[in-house]
């Protein structure tokens, strides 16, 4: 065979069920119970409203920098909605909606972004990892969790989130490769929101899709309309079922868009056009899903107000948290505090007793940070 194309069956599908013009492919429409549909929509809206509230809290100095999710609600909720409680969720740093779905209390997320360690503690029975900040580094953890589940004979599936930029990191590659070789029950959900801070996907990789990267590891990749919660759900469900059935990993590329700032320290007007943003605003996942629910008469009146009240209650809880006790910073450094840390804790304790006034309570406004940030962008000024 001198020069022969190898028969490797290298192909990638694109999945779209409910498009931005409201067209629905009924043959592919996933069968989701009404209650679940309502809860999905509710969590998407909650995510969006919380985002907005958090921007204000950040502007007021009550929390630090965070990464808004606006535009990506469908990619997150369509995916996590296919998980059971005993499955694992491994977020990156932009999964507020997914985390809300998985039961993270709002006040805890706020505490996290207020620089409090308490914010990172999952509930005792919760199979979620906390927010991971170094891009792509959580992906090997997801694969390790999936290996452990398989090793123990547990039925659990692991779902991990990451961005388009994350696919450039070595850790993405190594995790994908281990997932393929070990054939573990992991679903890798890439939210391709077109940008990694200021770097557009075209500068991130020369491959035409991110889904096709799975082919390098010998397992399936699929591209879905990430603003179509039904498509994301359908693809995720298929992947979760494959994983449960011992058929190994799947990469899902959700094609979506970050409508807001990268983080509250970012100014997107520096690197992208208003026109592009407007274009994507027309594909808003909330509008589309809302219309779908409307047809099914599943829209709850007064939902937004209800969610705002829920947020307000959580903010109140957050603001009434007692001030962070510096001495607790030693608590979980090790299983048992070693001698040198006992000495340091004592030293800090004595110092605080001598000098420090009480640190401000969590919700109290703090002085503006000396680093760049808080640029007002048109998209957040309303």
């Amino acid at each position: 065979m001198p020069r022969t194309p190898l028969d490797l069956r290298l192909s990638v599908d694109h999945l779209s069920i409910l498009d931005s013009d409201g067209n629905l492919d009924t043959a592919l429409e996933p069968d989701i119970a009404a209650g679940d549909l309502k809860r999905m929509y509710r969590t998407m809206v909650l995510g969006r409203r919380l985002d907005e509230r958090m921007v204000r809290l950040q502007r007021q100095g009550r929390i630090g920098t965070f990464a808004p999710i606006k535009g990506q609600e469908a990619s997150q909720i369509g995916a996590v909605a296919t998980l059971r409680r005993e499955d694992w969720m491994v977020p990156s740093f932009r999964e507020t909606a997914a985390m809300l779905w998985r039961g993270w209390p709002i006040e805890q997320l706020l505490a996290f972004f207020a620089g409090r360690l308490e914010g990172g503690r999952p509930a005792p029975d919760q199979r979620d990892l906390p927010i991971t900040i170094p891009v792509a580094t959580q992906l090997p953890h997801a694969v390790g969790l999936a290996y452990a589940a398989q090793y123990r004979g547990d039925d659990a599936v692991v779902m991990a989130f990451f961005g388009d930029g994350a696919t450039s990191e070595g850790d993405f590659h190594e995790a994908m490769n281990f997932a393929g070789v070990w054939h573990v029950p992991v679903v890798l959900v890439c939210q391709n929101n077109q940008w990694a801070i200021s770097v557009p996907i075209k500068k991130q990789t020369h491959s035409r899709t991110l889904a096709q990267k799975a082919l390098a590891y010998g397992f399936p990749g699929i591209q879905v309309d990430g603003n179509d919660v039904l498509a994301v759900y359908a693809a995720s469900r298929e992947a979760v079922l494959r994983a449960q059935a011992g058929e190994g990993p799947t990469l899902i590329e959700c094609v979506t868009y970050r409508l807001g700032v990268h983080t509250t320290a970012d100014d997107p007007t520096k690197y992208r056009s208003e026109a592009e943003v407007r274009e994507w605003e027309r594909k808003d996942p909330l509008t589309r899903f809302g219309a779908y629910l409307e047809k099914k008469t599943l829209l709850e009146p007064g939902l937004e107000e209800e969610l705002d009240a829920e947020i307000a209650r959580a903010v109140a809880v957050f603001e009434s948290l007692p001030p962070a006790d510096p001495l607790t910073m030693f608590e979980h450094a090790y299983g048992e505090l070693p001698a040198h840390l006992r000495a340091q804790r004592q030293e800090v304790g004595e110092r605080l007793a001598r000098t420090a006034p009480d640190p401000p309570a969590a919700g109290e406004p703090l002085p503006p940070p000396p680093m760049r940030g808080q640029r007002k962008t048109s998209r957040w000024s309303n």
């Binding site: 620089g115 991130q204 962070a324 607790t328 340091q344 000396p370 680093m371």
Partner: protein
């Protein structure tokens, strides 16, 4: 002379070195169109174009690794790692290669390159955005590690780093970026790498610091003068590696007492080398043990508790008083 903050001063150094030498180029995440998340590379993309000011994919090891390749070819890349907390991703490229090509090829190749990274706390940032990892670089043979303490020396040291024939790790204290402005000459100026600066003379005790802690040390010195009548000599290291032991030993030989201040965790940190070197170089002059004021030895305390960990003026003053009273 223009009055610039540290961000603008660094930007000026890059601009002028790039104008001067076409082999100098800049690469990193968001350094191009966006001008860097801290704006240190602002406008360079517009001035020099995307081939010289490269918005790289999100991969630190390849940023440093390709820069090594560029340097082997004869270019002089200046990499930006967005936060020092993400530089462990490229640590193998730094330690295995940037630091070693000169010796490995017995001088046939070398890596004239700079790796800039913002470090340190005080900016209410999340995990991996507030840590101080200078010790990891200080201890790698073949590297130089520079830590400026203000706009003017930051600019002059970055110029030297770019011109230095060896790989230079350039630590920029985030807390200093916008902290204050200084007069900076428009003409390029350079400062020698490897030379500490006596920021203030004194004879009773030596305070040793670098980066954002220099200001803390100077303020502590002020308190000691005002409240204790003690004259502290303040040394601003500027370069951590190679360490200017001569200046350090000279000062402590005179004062007999020293306090080292840094934001990195205390144990096995830079203060240890400074203390050990001073003991070796000035043992007979020492009137008290050298104290270290440093962050606590826990992974990350969260910015809500950061103040209790990172050295501040009262802690330095307290340590100085104990040292004076020893």
């Amino acid at each position: 002379m223009v009055k610039l903050n540290m961000v603008k001063a660094l930007n000026l150094a890059l601009l002028q070195e790039m104008e001067r030498d076409p082999d100098v180029l800049v690469l990193g995440e968001d350094v191009g169109v966006d001008g860097g998340v801290f704006r240190v590379t602002e406008d360079l993309h517009r001035t020099f174009g995307g081939k010289r000011v490269i918005d790289s994919p999100l991969a630190e090891a390849a940023i440093v690794g390709t820069a090594v390749g560029m340097a082997l070819y004869g270019l002089k890349p200046v990499c930006e790692i967005q936060f020092s907390g993400f530089a462990f991703q490229c640590f193998h490229q730094i330690e295995n290669h940037a630091a070693r090509y000169r010796q490995r090829t017995q001088g046939r190749f070398h890596c004239q390159m700079v790796v800039r990274m913002p470090y340190g706390g005080g900016v209410r940032a999340l995990e991996h955005h507030s840590e101080s990892e200078e010790q990891f670089y200080a201890q790698v043979p073949g590297l130089k590690l520079v830590v400026p303490s203000g706009p003017r020396n930051a600019r002059a040291l970055l110029v030297s780093a770019i011109r230095d024939p060896d790989p230079v790790i350039f630590f920029e204290a985030k807390a200093l970026y916008h902290a204050h402005k200084e007069e900076v000459p428009e003409e390029t100026e350079a400062l020698p790498i490897g030379q500490a600066r006596v920021a203030q003379e004194g004879r009773d005790l030596t305070l040793i610091a670098y980066g954002a802690m220099v200001r803390v040390a100077l303020e502590a010195a002020e308190v000691l003068r005002a409240e204790d009548g003690a004259e502290a000599e303040v040394i601003d290291l500027l370069t951590l590696s190679p360490l200017d032991r001569e200046t350090l030993v000279g000062s402590v030989a005179k004062t007999g007492r020293a306090v080292v201040v840094h934001e990195a965790p205390r144990s096995f940190g830079p203060g240890a080398e400074i203390a050990a070197s001073l003991m070796e170089g000035a043992f007979l002059a020492l009137e008290a043990p050298i104290r270290r004021v440093a962050a606590v030895d826990v992974p990350w305390v969260g910015f809500a508790r950061e103040k209790a960990s990172v050295p501040d003026v009262p802690r330095v003053v307290a340590a100085a008083r104990e040292t004076l009273a020893f």
